[in-house]
């Protein structure tokens, strides 16, 4: 039975796009609330992809539509080459935002049960459950009931249950929430190791640092829309690099060379890097006797990019949406 299961998994999917997920114009409305409004996503196979957005942005609803838990009102979705996500349900692992396990179940049984839901034979699931727990320093908890575990341990057990059937696509909804810093670090290592094996990992988060460290691609969702989808570097590039200038002179003709958006904080001047580059500006400052003490160019972080992009989208959303949808 196990042999057949492996053979089925090996032969299961093949598509020519190289995309694990392709989503176009997804729309979902709950009564008079537009939760998702034309979302487009493309996730490469074997990549780590982050879906970022503030609370209530539509991240979970988008993931639920990708998983087939709910159907979109409009738009197209293709998951592992299949239009209906349920056709590849056994190749997907899913960790929902709100964690849940049967409290009376033993840890290894809980993992086996989640595998059984994805077609893994129960005996094999039990064996793998014990093995996974051992490999993640939880071997001592294998025979303990879920209710006897700490919240963090139970969360790891559920995560292992998400992976027990060797899925090709792993979808994690806010996987870092509820974990302490050490376990967050372990989870990052685990996600990287999955991607190294060729597994596609998608996770949603509103903690930008995880996405910045892990993701090749990200989508920022705000107000049910995707104002940005692409590489992390591209998101950063949305915000021009900032120049930090320190001068000995406080006044002089050199000030005319500074861009209009320049602001002063303490002894520093901040302004966006001019499109013409730094050299012409540098020359004007020297010629104008600015007395340059220090000058550095600071590239925008993903956090700044996220705040700017999501903030713009939210502001635009407030302007364009009917009041009933915003409320």
């Amino acid at each position: 039975m196990l042999g057949l299961y492996r053979e089925q998994m090996d032969n299961a999917t093949s598509d020519t796009t190289g995309l694990a997920i392709e989503v176009r114009g997804l729309v979902k409305r709950f009564d008079d609330t537009l939760a998702v409004d034309g979302v487009d996503l493309s996730v490469k196979r074997g990549s780590i992809y982050g879906i970022l957005g503030p609370n209530g942005a539509g991240k979970t609803t988008t993931l639920r539509m990708i998983l087939g838990i709910i159907d979109p009102d409009a738009g197209m979705r293709r998951v592992l080459g299949h239009k209906d996500p349920q056709d590849v349900a056994r190749l997907i692992g899913y960790l929902p935002e709100e964690r849940g396990l049967y409290p009376a179940m033993k840890a290894y049984e809980a993992i086996a049960f989640m595998g059984a839901l994805r077609g893994l034979p129960l005996a094999e699931g039990r064996r793998r459950g014990r093995e996974l727990l051992e490999n993640h320093d939880l071997g001592h908890a294998a025979d303990r009931q879920i209710r006897q575990l700490s919240k963090g341990m139970a969360q790891i057990v559920q995560l292992l249950g998400t992976l027990v059937h060797d899925p090709e696509l792993v979808i994690l909804d806010e996987p870092f929430s509820g974990l302490d810093a050490i376990n967050q670090g372990k989870l990052e290592v685990l996600i990287r190791s999955l991607a190294d094996k060729g597994t596609t990992v998608i996770f949603s988060t509103h903690v930008i640092a995880h996405a910045e460290r892990l993701c090749e691609g990200i989508a920022i969702i705000a107000g049910g829309k995707v104002p940005f989808a692409g590489r992390v570097d591209d998101a950063r590039d949305r915000i021009p690099a900032q120049v930090r200038l320190e001068t000995s002179a406080s006044e002089g003709p050199w000030k005319a060379a500074l861009p209009q958006e320049t602001r002063r904080v303490g002894q520093f001047w901040y302004f966006p890097l001019p499109e013409t580059g730094i050299e012409p500006l540098l020359r004007a400052l020297i010629d104008g006797n600015a007395g340059i003490q220090s000058l550095s160019i600071e590239r925008a972080g993903l956090h700044d990019a996220f705040v700017a992009i999501a903030g713009e989208a939210a502001a635009a959303d407030l302007v364009t949406r009917p009041l009933s949808e915003v409320a």
Binding site: R64, E97, F113
Partner: protein, 421 residues
């Protein structure tokens, strides 16, 4: 086997089996299961206690003596005649007590004694055996007039009565008693079916609350069809119920056998005992699945255990109404009301079990079971669909349209956990 079937989600039956296996073992190996098995003992103990106490209360409450106030010899004669008559007729003859032995010419005010409400006197006989005078409330006069006449006749010295010995000869049954017996079997079968379904089907009301409370429902919904979750839960509880019934049935049969009782005390059902039991089991399964699927749907809409508990009473009352409907149909065989009870899915198992007791035909049961099976499938499908639509979503909900029918019930249980994601 195509790609989708290899990598797609589990088939309906296999997924239902995974859910049912989890539920069955979780319940069977829980500590609370022993209380489930002992459950039927509690009403039996209460019933025995109530009947014992009730009988004592009744005995003391309705003891009503007939007093005798006559001249000495007449009193003795009346008491002897009463005892003689009671030995033939039994407890229908009221106890008779001596009130007073009167001297010749002495009068006795029976009315005053009765109005004094002393003791447990219900009537007083005065006069002589040849000319008895009964004093009692109006209701008792009519009740005991004939009896007192018979006693007085026995006590009369003028013409002593003799009661000939009656030789008895019993027959197994008669046409009338066979019909009456089958009706009794039908009603007993219906009652048993009702009690079992009422005990067990209501349990599924709270079945999905655990999954919703633990947030496991989303993992289930992502992996397997919601129909399979419903089916798995229903069949797990059905298996638990069958296990319980097997234990209770064995215990009950053993107790009956020890008490020297047997099925021969009931009239043979129309289809015979073996088929009657088989049909009983099938109709229990169908009745359970039909009611259970509705209760599971209603329970699945409830956001908290408290809401489920609130729903338990109306759910039980609904079952009682269905039972009354089916019971009424037993007394109207061949009339439209019987056919209505057979066609209406919820009363169909009860009505058909009664029919199995009353009628020999087997083909109606094949039809009825098929119909009930279709209804079970429809109920599960609709229930799972409603659950997916109303509960498995992440956006906020608000009442936007006037609710009707089942939607009204559903609207009562707007999922409190819904929030924008």
């Amino acid at each position: 086997m195509n790609q989708s079937s290899q990598s797609g989600r589990l088939s309906l039956w296999r997924a239902a089996f995974v859910v049912a296996r989890r539920d069955f073992t979780a319940i069977l190996f829980s500590r609370a299961f022993i209380f489930f098995l002992l459950g039927p003992l509690f009403p039996i103990v209460v019933l025995v206690l109530a009947s014992t106490v009730g009988a004592q209360v009744q005995t003391s409450a309705i003891t009503a003596d007939v007093g005798v106030a006559m001249q000495g010899d007449d009193v003795d004669a009346m008491l002897a005649a009463r005892n003689d008559l009671a030995s033939h007729i039994g407890p229908a003859i009221p106890p008779m007590v001596e009130l007073k032995r009167l001297e010749p010419g002495e009068s006795f005010d029976a009315r005053a004694v009765l109005e004094g409400r002393e003791g447990s006197l219900a009537a007083i006989v005065t006069g002589t055996p040849e000319n008895p005078e009964l004093t009692a409330p109006a209701g008792n006069l009519a009740r005991w007039e004939g009896t007192i006449a018979m006693i007085a006749a026995g006590a009369s010295r003028a013409e002593p009565a003799a009661y000939p010995h009656v030789t008895t000869s019993a027959v197994a049954t008669s046409g009338a008693s066979e019909n009456r017996g089958r009706l009794g079997t039908a009603q007993s079968g219906q009652l048993m079916l009702f009690l079992l379904i009422m005990l067990l089907a209501s349990m599924v009301l709270s079945n999905l609350v655990e999954e919703k409370g633990n947030k496991i429902i989303e993992i289930l919904a992502a992996a397997i069809p919601m129909d399979a979750v419903f089916m798995g839960k229903l069949f797990a509880m059905l298996a638990i119920s069958v296990f319980g019934i097997a234990v209770w049935g064995t215990a009950g049969a053993t107790l009956l056998a020890l008490g020297g009782r047997s099925l021969s005390e009931f009239a043979n059902p129309g289809v015979g005992w073996p088929l009657f039991f088989t049909l009983g089991a099938l109709y229990f399964g169908m009745g359970y699945l039909l009611l259970g699927s509705i209760f599971l749907t209603i329970g699945s809409m409830a956001p908290t255990v408290r809401d489920v508990q609130t729903m338990a009473m109306p759910a039980t009352m609904t079952q009682v109404l269905v039972f009354f409907f089916a019971s009424l149909a037993v007394t109207r065989t061949g009339e439209w009301i019987e056919y209505a009870a057979i066609v209406f899915p919820l009363s169909s198992p009860f009505a058909m079990l009664a029919r199995a007791a009353l009628d020999e035909a087997i083909w109606p049961h094949v039809l009825a079971l098929g119909w009930q099976l279709v209804c079970v499938a429809v109920f599960i499908k609709v229930g799972a669909g409603l659950f997916r639509k109303k509960v498995m979503k992440s956006g906020p909900q608000a009442v936007r349209q006037r609710p009707r029918g089942l939607a009204l019930i559903v609207s009562m249980f707007r999922n409190g956990s819904d929030k924008p994601a």
